[in-house]
Symmetry: C2
Subunit: 256 residues, 2 copies
Amino acid sequence: MYFTRPETVLNLQNIRNELVRMEDTIIFKFIERSHFATCPSVYKEQHPGLTIPNFEGSFLNWVLLNLEITQSRIRRFESPDETPFFPDKIQKSFLPSVNYPQILAPYAPEVNYNDKIKDVYIEKIIPLISRKDGDDSNNFGSVATSDIECLQSLSRRIHFGKFVAEAKFQSDIPLYTKLIKDKDVERIMENITNSAVEEKILERLTKKAEVYGVDPTNKKGEKRITPEYLVKIYKEIVIPITKEVEVEYLLRRLED
Amino acid sequence: MYFTRPETVLNLQNIRNELVRMEDTIIFKFIERSHFATCPSVYKEQHPGLTIPNFEGSFLNWVLLNLEITQSRIRRFESPDETPFFPDKIQKSFLPSVNYPQILAPYAPEVNYNDKIKDVYIEKIIPLISRKDGDDSNNFGSVATSDIECLQSLSRRIHFGKFVAEAKFQSDIPLYTKLIKDKDVERIMENITNSAVEEKILERLTKKAEVYGVDPTNKKGEKRITPEYLVKIYKEIVIPITKEVEVEYLLRRLED
Ligand SMILES: N[C@@H](Cc1c[nH]c2ccccc12)C(=O)O
Ligand SMILES: N[C@@H](Cc1c[nH]c2ccccc12)C(=O)O
């Protein structure tokens, strides 16, 4: 999938392949995070021992903000599949613009669920995937780094809903135009939901978690990520927020 | 393994477990890199279209340097298992020092093979793991980010040789003292080499690459990392450079 070539992007089969590939990425990143304890201090503002001069937020936010600033300078957030956690703080790139063709509607960058993704990640996902409860001050930096990788890959996965939504809109413009005009959220939701596809995602995740979740050369060793938890995370968090993205994107689709 | 608790660190079994865990990390990072083309432009200095104001180095070096500066400010390189690629450019942390107990000899940070690791990664490893030859300007940022993850995990793995070396030194001080005094590199090499362990590493990698290297729900799908290449990378690069680290570390062990 190449965002400079629009015809590759709005093809539902290409989108699905990309989503399948992202499952592996997300699982690998969760496995890396699973080696550490929950480390609640990383997520607290102005935590003693982790206080950062001239910065109000948590340790995680400081690392994430600094990374986003660096990445914005090399054009990360010009790419339509990337969404910043700090849209007001990122910078312009010193590189020439890529000039991506307009694939999504112009308001697409405003559909940004990253605050919600970060909250839910900290409150719900970390307790499920961490090795144990509690702090481990030896690894606050490693933990924040690992969290950022999880968050960026979840964010990319969830905001990919915009491409799904645009492809679905294009596939039946009259239907969606009517539903959008009626603000019929319920029927939009119905139309973007494909329960068979969702079932398949969950089945695939179960299988992948079984395979990746243990060291294949030491199957009695520690479990790294369990199928139940992974399915729960997708079912209760990833899929529902993706659909929220799709609905919000579609509801504005007739703006000009 | 906790670097604030020395007794956990110089235990050879703990070191081996950590090395086994790092194999998975390295494989996961290689798999992420394998989705992209080689992208030679990322590694060239002052490349047209990727020129960075006031910076002489390659695009990769700019990203890596900026990440290291951010991470140094939160103490990454105080940790004895972390080695910077830009030791002269990193900064002091604004956080209180961790005060790690002295486990390795004081000159340990000077044993730094990162330049070599970076060169060999670019010249030998990238061509083996990339999906195809050539540039893909849509993904220069993703590629550099992925490279940095590969490089940092290779660097950690290889410099772990220092802990192996220290543990071996402690296990037979009279023997190593003699060999070091005689500068008998050959016999040091012999003593730190455990061919049975090396064989086992390669067998384990073959198995892991087979399992992680294809999507378990689509075994006919694209191969991501092949056992042959992974074994080659460990046999010709990772293991030999780790031993160089061990030997250099040991040769200086009687300094005071
Ligand atoms: N494990 C150490 C060192 C470290 C590893 N990766 C890091 C990234 C950022 C900061 C520190 C680190 C820590 O977490 O502190
Ligand atoms: N894929 C785009 C956007 C991107 C993703 N991750 C990045 C990290 C840094 C810079 C850009 C990016 C690129 O490589 O350009």
